[in-house]
Structures are given as structure tokens and as C-alpha cells.
């Protein structure tokens, strides 16, 4: 039991810090560079993304192991996973509108961007590829979401500072954001070797 918990904890740390989606796996970069100009959006986005990642990981796991594996149609996983995510996002959108318009006003705007985002679809694909158990899948999704959120918040706070910096003109905007991401990624290499799974 203790061992199991330690392993899950390590999985979480690995997913959030060591194999950070943004800084070491390069996933979700469009979002990462696109919406980190304002702290508020970055936070809203991170919360929404983490929630969607965890829930779609759960749904995909169930479908993958109870439907696709028995039917031997795992080669269709791309199509099916994207269907699941899209359907779930659509459902979440509708439910939020009805149940909590306030929350929808805050987070719903980001939902539209989610369906076609690689960071969301990557989670079930990796879970399936690694053969994670149900709980492991959830922890992995949660860790990835936390790592993504961390990256978003760091980047948003740095970019507020960059906005008023005297960056040479050709590098203003995206190029300097890339260089910043490079240096953050360099700092994150400090975490490498922290946990060997």
C-alpha cells in the first residue's frame, strides 16, 4: 500500500516537473504561447485544462480497456479518443451553461479551444501507450495538468515583466517568449534524474 502510494506520488512528480508537458515534451505550445499574455486567462485556462484532462483520461481509459481492447480495434484509438474528448467537451459546455452560467462565463470560453488541443489528446494516447492502470491514468492526467498550470502561471508572470522590457525589436513578442521558454526549460533540467521510474 505504502509502496503503491509512493509510486503514484512519483508518477505525479514525474508528470508535472520532470517530464513537464510544456518544457520537456513540447505539448500545448500554441496555448502556452497564445494565452500567457495575461495572468487571469492563464489561470482560467489551466484550471479548465486540468479538469478536462482528468475526466477525459478516465473516460478514454474505460473505453480503451473495456471496448477497444476486447474488440481489437486499438488501431482506431486516435479517432475514438478525439471523439470522446470532443463529445465530452460539448457535453461539459452544455451542462455548464445550464448549471452554472457564472462558471461558464469564467471558464467556458476556453472550452472551445480544447477539443483540438494536442495536450488534451496526448494524455489518453500516452495512458494507452504506457498501459497505465485506471488510478495511474488519473494521477498522470492530474500531474500533467498541474505541470501545465505551473508552466502557464510562470510564463504569464514573466511575460508581464517582458512586456515593459527593452527587448530588441525583431525579438519582441513570440521570439523572446521562445527564448524565455528555453531558459525556463534549462532551469527545469535541474529536476532531471529526481525520480527514476
Amino acid at each position: 500500500m505504502g509502496n503503491e502510494l509512493t509510486r503514484l506520488f512519483e508518477l505525479f512528480i514525474a508528470a508535472s516537473l520532470i517530464n513537464n508537458f510544456v518544457f520537456t515534451m513540447f505539448l500545448g505550445l500554441c496555448i502556452f504561447f497564445g494565452v500567457t499574455k495575461k495572468m487571469e486567462t492563464a489561470v482560467g485556462m489551466s484550471i479548465t485544462f486540468t479538469a478536462v484532462m482528468v475526466i477525459s483520461a478516465a473516460l478514454s481509459w474505460v473505453v480503451f480497456f473495456y471496448v477497444m481492447v476486447p474488440l481489437e480495434i486499438t488501431f482506431l484509438k486516435i479517432i475514438i479518443f478525439i471523439g470522446i474528448v470532443a463529445a465530452f467537451v460539448q457535453a461539459a459546455d452544455t451542462m455548464m451553461r445550464k448549471i452554472s452560467p457564472e462558471l461558464f462565463y469564467k471558464l467556458g470560453v476556453y472550452l472551445a479551444l480544447i477539443a483540438t488541443n494536442c495536450i488534451i489528446i496526448a494524455v489518453p494516447l500516452i495512458n494507452a501507450g504506457e498501459g497505465y492502470s485506471f488510478v495511474e491514468s488519473l494521477v498522470f492526467a492530474l500531474g500533467s495538468g498541474a505541470g501545465f498550470a505551473l508552466a502557464m502561471v510562470i510564463m504569464a508572470s514573466i511575460r508581464e515583466k517582458l512586456d515593459i522590457a527593452r527587448v530588441p525589436k525583431p525579438f519582441k513578442g513570440l521570439p523572446i517568449a521562445f527564448v524565455t521558454a528555453a531558459l525556463v526549460a534549462l532551469a527545469f533540467t535541474g529536476f532531471s534524474g529526481l525520480i527514476t521510474l
Binding site: 513540447f26 505550445l29 486516435i78 470532443a86 500516452i126 521570439p175 521562445f178 521558454a181 528555453a182 533540467t189
Partner: protein
């Protein structure tokens, strides 16, 4: 809205003025993730070229039969279908490359640019220009990946396509994550500079 440009022009624009990576700055994930080797960069580019062209072709063929309300799901289905085809082909015929970047091949499905081209171009144009658009975008994408991976492999390992080109103490960092970000950032800044210096452009900030 029918596009009035000729096929060649469409291809050219896709490669240069609407370059996905350097000018529009979308679908960046593979630009960094798979470009530590020239070979991977080229294969990724080919995969995207294939998928985009086929998606544009299929969407264009079916454009008059798709109900507008459900067009996005249909497009997604088409895209994921072609991505699956690519995925399986790669797995079968290019095993070493596939081991390196299987996940990213699968993730082509989530490229905003592919859906964008299907939605804004292919669904409104005849098959021939749509294919041109797909080819243009794909080649532009491929060129960008090749440029980035060229620099990264050369600097990071001193090799190209796995063959040793120069003997020196390679900058290992260039094939690591940091190197990917820094290469894209510096190349983008360089292109902006060239654009501003010689063509009087304002610099493409992309999403920034």
C-alpha cells in the same frame, strides 16, 4: 468565398508568406519536439504534407454534401482517419523514426493548422486548388522543420542524417528541449530582422 489565385501562387504563399511555423506560429509542438534530427524533421514534414493534402482533397470533394452545422466533427473525423493511415504506414515502413516520434505523428490530429486549412480553404474551393493549398502548406511546414532540424542536428551532434559532417565538441544542448526552444526563438527573431531590415516588414509576431 472562392479563391482566385492560381495553383502555383497558392503553393508559394503556403510556403512563404503564410508559413505555418515562422509566420503564423501555430502547430509549434512538433517543430521543437521532433527536430533534434534532420531525418525526423523531414519525415514529420512529409507526414504533415501528406495528411494536409489528403484532408484538403477529401474535404473539397465532400464540401457540397456536408451540412454546415456538423462540419467540424466531420472534418475531425476525416483528419483523424488520414492521421491513422499515416500512423500505421509510418509504423510499418519507418520503424526507427516511428520509435522516436510515434506520439507526435498521432498528435498531428490535433494540429490547429490542418483543421484551419480544411475549414477556411478546402471546404470552399474545388479539389485542384485545395490540393495546391495542402501542398503549399505542407511544403512550407516541411521546410521549416528541415531548417530547424538541420541546425539542431549539426550543432548538437556534428552530424546530418546521422553522418558525421564536422568534427568538434558538439553542443549537446541543441538536441535537448532548451535547444529546441532557443533555435526556434532565434530563427524567428532572425527572420523578423531580415524582414524588417530588407523588406520593410513590421515583423511577424504571430500570436505574440
Amino acid at each position: 468565398m472562392q479563391d482566385t489565385r492560381g495553383n502555383w501562387e497558392i503553393i508559394k504563399d503556403g510556403i512563404f508568406s503564410d508559413n505555418t511555423i515562422f509566420r503564423l506560429a501555430i502547430s509549434l509542438c512538433p517543430a521543437i519536439a521532433v527536430t533534434s534530427k534532420l531525418k525526423n524533421g523531414l519525415y514529420m514534414g512529409l507526414a504533415v504534407l501528406f495528411v494536409q493534402t489528403m484532408v484538403n482533397f477529401s474535404v473539397s470533394l465532400m464540401r457540397n454534401y456536408i451540412h454546415p452545422r456538423i462540419r467540424i466533427p466531420i472534418f475531425m473525423l476525416i483528419i483523424s482517419g488520414w492521421v491513422t493511415v499515416t500512423d500505421l504506414m509510418m509504423a510499418a515502413f519507418a520503424r526507427d523514426v516511428y520509435r522516436d516520434m510515434g506520439l507526435y505523428i498521432q498528435l498531428i490530429v490535433a494540429f490547429a493548422s490542418i483543421l484551419a486549412h480544411a475549414e477556411t480553404f478546402a471546404s470552399k474551393n474545388k479539389p485542384a486548388p485545395s490540393v495546391s493549398d495542402g501542398i503549399g502548406m505542407g511544403i512550407g511546414f516541411m521546410i521549416a522543420l528541415v531548417i530547424i532540424s538541420f541546425f539542431r542536428e549539426l550543432l548538437g551532434k556534428g552530424t546530418l542524417w546521422g553522418f558525421t559532417v564536422v568534427e568538434f565538441k558538439p553542443l549537446l544542448i541543441m538536441i535537448l528541449p532548451t535547444g529546441g526552444f532557443i533555435a526556434v526563438g532565434l530563427l524567428m527573431g532572425l527572420f523578423n530582422w531580415i524582414d524588417m531590415r530588407f523588406y520593410g516588414g513590421k515583423g511577424a509576431g504571430g500570436l505574440g
